[in-house]
Amino acid sequence: MSTRLLPLPPGEGRGEGAFATPPSPARTEAPTPLQTPPNPNPPLPQDAPPTPWADAVQAAALLAVDPIGTSGASLRAGHGPVRTRWLALLRALLPDGTPWRKVPLNIPDARLLGGLDLAATLAAGRPVAERGLLAEAASGVLLLPMAERAPAGLAARLATALDAGTLSLLVLDEGAADDEQAPSALMDRLAFHVKLSDVGAREPEGDLPAADDIAAARLRLPAVQATDATLQSLCAVAVALGIASVRAPLLALRAACAAAALAGHSEVSTEDATLACRLVLAPRATRLPVQDAAPDEDEPQPDPAPPEPQPDPDPGQGADPPPAPDTGEAPAPGALEDILLQASLAAMPQGMLALLQARALRQPAPASGTSGAPQPGRRGRPAGTRAGDPRGAERLNLIETLRAAAPWQRIRGATGGRLQIRRTDFRVTRHIQRAETTTIFVVDASGSSALNRLAEAKGAVELLLAECYVRRDQVAVLAFRGTGAQVLLPPTRSLVRAKRSLSALPGGGGTPLATGLDAGLLLADSVRRRGGTPTLVLLTDGRSNVARDGRGGRARAEADALQAARAIRVAGIGTLLVDTSPRPAAAAQRLAETLAARYLPLPYANPATLSLAAGRIGR
């Protein structure tokens, strides 16, 4: 498809600044005409694209019009006034009495799906059923706070509930780092991915939609129709943005219908579809559309804004999205697609490319354990019993409970064959779950031997992975060179992913050993916090020539490296140092001593020995 970028309006400072700037107080007070959503008409992209907050307000309005159809939203923001404000807004727009329930992450199945209320049953001597949270939230809203840490099991149950179309889910994603994301099983099913983390608390609220308008739109919604051209364009835009899931265009269609209902249209108009694309499709983009010659047009534009070449910009800034087009005239079917695509592009935040890359690399789903040590609970194999209240995630072990209660029956005055069981008698089954081992390869990708070493590391990783499912282990690869370290493969068990991530390995440059070690420690630490056991495999010759601050100088660099090594030793992470220099080198041996690492001189390491050695440490 042809994607032509529209020319920039002259005289408008539209380089880096005007677009999707994180709002600062100075900006909000400036006399710039801030985009506010005219109500009930959705905002057309005019001079400035809507602010994130304006988009968030629009999302809330559309969500309120069709809570079930759009399935809900994910809200990426820390806990704070902005999020609270958005939630309050949404709640005010929903009909009175709409269920509004919160799911704690550690909710037991009995509470989520309904089951037997044990304590009440014991007290009453007859079964007392407990209503599940999903049933309580039926045709209402369910909130999932701290969604980035949601266990896969909970996500699976909620996804099933969403598929059944009984409720609307608000995923409150408080993740800070790019690799902390709400479970993708849920994200895929939610229409709106609202990002509030860039919205300042002092940003004016702007025009908020009125609950009456929403209620009226809700009545109009069933009659709203969408033409084939609209449907076709939505699908085409989704393909162009590299969105694989077919749910995305479907959700976009729902959002477009809701927007049409809100605007009082009986048929989805261009503006409605534009809004849907911006809110639903743009945040899901996995690639920028293939543009024939468009970037070339973009670059030499006589743009008054930032003439200075940026030395090391974030890769995303090169692809500065174009302004949203003027949607005034009625478009031809093919043109509609272009308009929608432009709107989606305009809605992408700056640094999109970097974000896309981060997303491609991200951890697929958080490990089921929350932070800290392996979570005790119902997971794993049963291993004995302990006293405890079974109302958490644990199951009452009846036999042991009766055994505990038996000696006290006479004292408690049990009569008539009825046992007297107190809460103190409760015994629950303990379970053990083996912690996963994550082997982190830290590979020296600098200098001339880089290619060779990386190929070996790649082979070892793939061999390890091929057998790792049996051991239930994960593998990660981190390479350092030049002035920095890069996670090439986040901890994974997937061979498919590993192959793809490792297929293009960069090499060459200086040796920032300290930075590499630091990055290794950081990754190991995050593995540990997810409940796994990290081990480090270091492939280096132990020589370093780039210090932590990125400056050259062998002495400083080596001192830094030894310091970083001590930190790893203090953290108590099992380490294997594979000396890759042609002859065993003193530098590497000294590093191994500092790390308290096993030292393996392996001038001609082959993947098989490497994977064997890596498999032995830490066990």
């Binding site: 199945d109 599940g132 099991g153 699908c235 393909v239 479907l250 789903a365 793939e462 499912y469």
Partner: protein
């Protein structure tokens, strides 16, 4: 704790099977498994939002209902006394009732109690009886057990499933209970390979494996979105519209089941199957067996009375791609390897 089981069937308003756009290999594999449950299950690997769960749920609604012993918690077949559970063996009266084929969802994070069954706490606490509360495996007997994101399933559950799937019997020895009951089911797993590999032992339990992809062409995607939209807007009307097409598929399954015992496999086809498996170096005989069974089921679905080479080639990728010995350094996917071997064996 006793919780309401997640149960897909009978789902009155499921998406019609016939209305699923594309994904022919997945539909073919599911139909084969429905025709001959002894195939050993279907594994569907692919991206999110490709209609994996929709297809399984749709199949559940489509399958012809089955006869089961009234009051039996394991859905025993009144016509097959050899496969009865202990309860049914002791039962004097085996009155039958018609029930939909069970399709049971095994959610991620399900606990062992819920899967294998456990002491019925409700009855133990209120009536002082020691009773077994059947788990998901019992409910899935003679039906389908569907595991979404099977590759993320926890180890101890995987171990359990491997054993039960192989023996067709669930043995519970816990909490003072000693129970065994039949648990023969078609395992249907789905997942995204990018999120984790499947343990080889479990991989081998699946008879067929299918790779699904989102259709990249815009017209199919439009068709998907349009059908889904009209389904969501008015489910009864949409189902009405597709009921004839669904009935056709149902009739095809019923006819194939009747035809299946009589489908012949001549020696030439048998040899072709063996040669193909040898060329691919698959371990064990399970590959040949599954390949032949699947080809027979497919022939039955086509209304043919003998297996032909074309049936073999149509099922070979599904039956073999997950059984190839893993070579991590071979960049070519398993599907490519199967296709290559087929081209060598049968000519282009």
């Amino acid at each position: 704790m006793t919780t309401q089981p997640a149960r897909l069937a009978p789902q009155r308003d499921a998406f019609p099977f016939a209305a699923i756009v594309g994904q022919d290999e997945m539909k073919q594999a599911l139909l084969i498994a429905a025709t001959d449950p002894s195939i050993g299950g279907v594994l569907v690997f692919g991206d999110r939002g490709t209609g994996k769960s929709t297809a399984v749920r749709a199949l559940a609604a489509l399958l012809p209902p089955m006869q089961a012993v009234q009051g039996c918690r394991y859905n025993c077949d009144p016509a097959r006394p050899t496969a009865w559970c202990d309860d049914c063996a002791a039962r004097p009266d085996h009155a039958a009732h018609t029930m939909p084929v069970p399709v049971v969802d095994l959610p991620l994070g399900a606990t062992e109690d819920r899967v294998v069954g456990a002491l019925d706490l409700e009855r133990a606490l209120t009536r002082g009886e020691k009773a077994f509360e059947p788990g998901l495996l019992a409910r899935a007997n003679r039906g389908f057990l569907y595991i979404d994101e099977v590759n993320l399933l926890e180890d101890h559950l995987v171990d359990l499933l491997i054993d039960v799937a192989a023996s067709g019997e669930n043995v519970v020895e816990r909490e003072g209970l000693s129970v065994r009951h039949p648990a023969r089911f078609v395992l249907v797993g789905s997942g995204n390979p990018e999120e984790g590999e499947l343990r080889p032992q479990l991989l081998d339990r699946f008879g067929l494996s299918v790779e699904v992809r989102t259709p990249e062409d815009v017209p199919s995607r439009i068709a998907i979105v349009r059908r889904r939209d009209s389904y969501d807007r008015d489910r009864p009307a949409f189902q009405q519209e597709w009921s004839a097409a669904d009935a056709e598929v149902r009739a095809r399954i019923t006819a194939a089941r009747a035809l299946l015992p009589g489908v012949e496999v001549d020696d030439a086809v048998l040899e072709q199957a063996t040669r193909l498996c040898m060329a691919l170096g698959t371990d064990g005989l399970r590959a040949e067996l599954t390949l032949l069974r699947a080809a027979r089921a497919l022939a039955a679905l086509d209304g043919a009375t003998a297996v032909e080479t074309s049936h073999l080639t149509r099922v070979a990728p599904s039956a073999l791609r997950h059984r190839l010995r893993r070579d991590p350094l071979d960049e070519a996917g398993s599907t490519t390897r199967v296709t290559r071997a087929m081209a060598e064996q049968f000519g282009p």
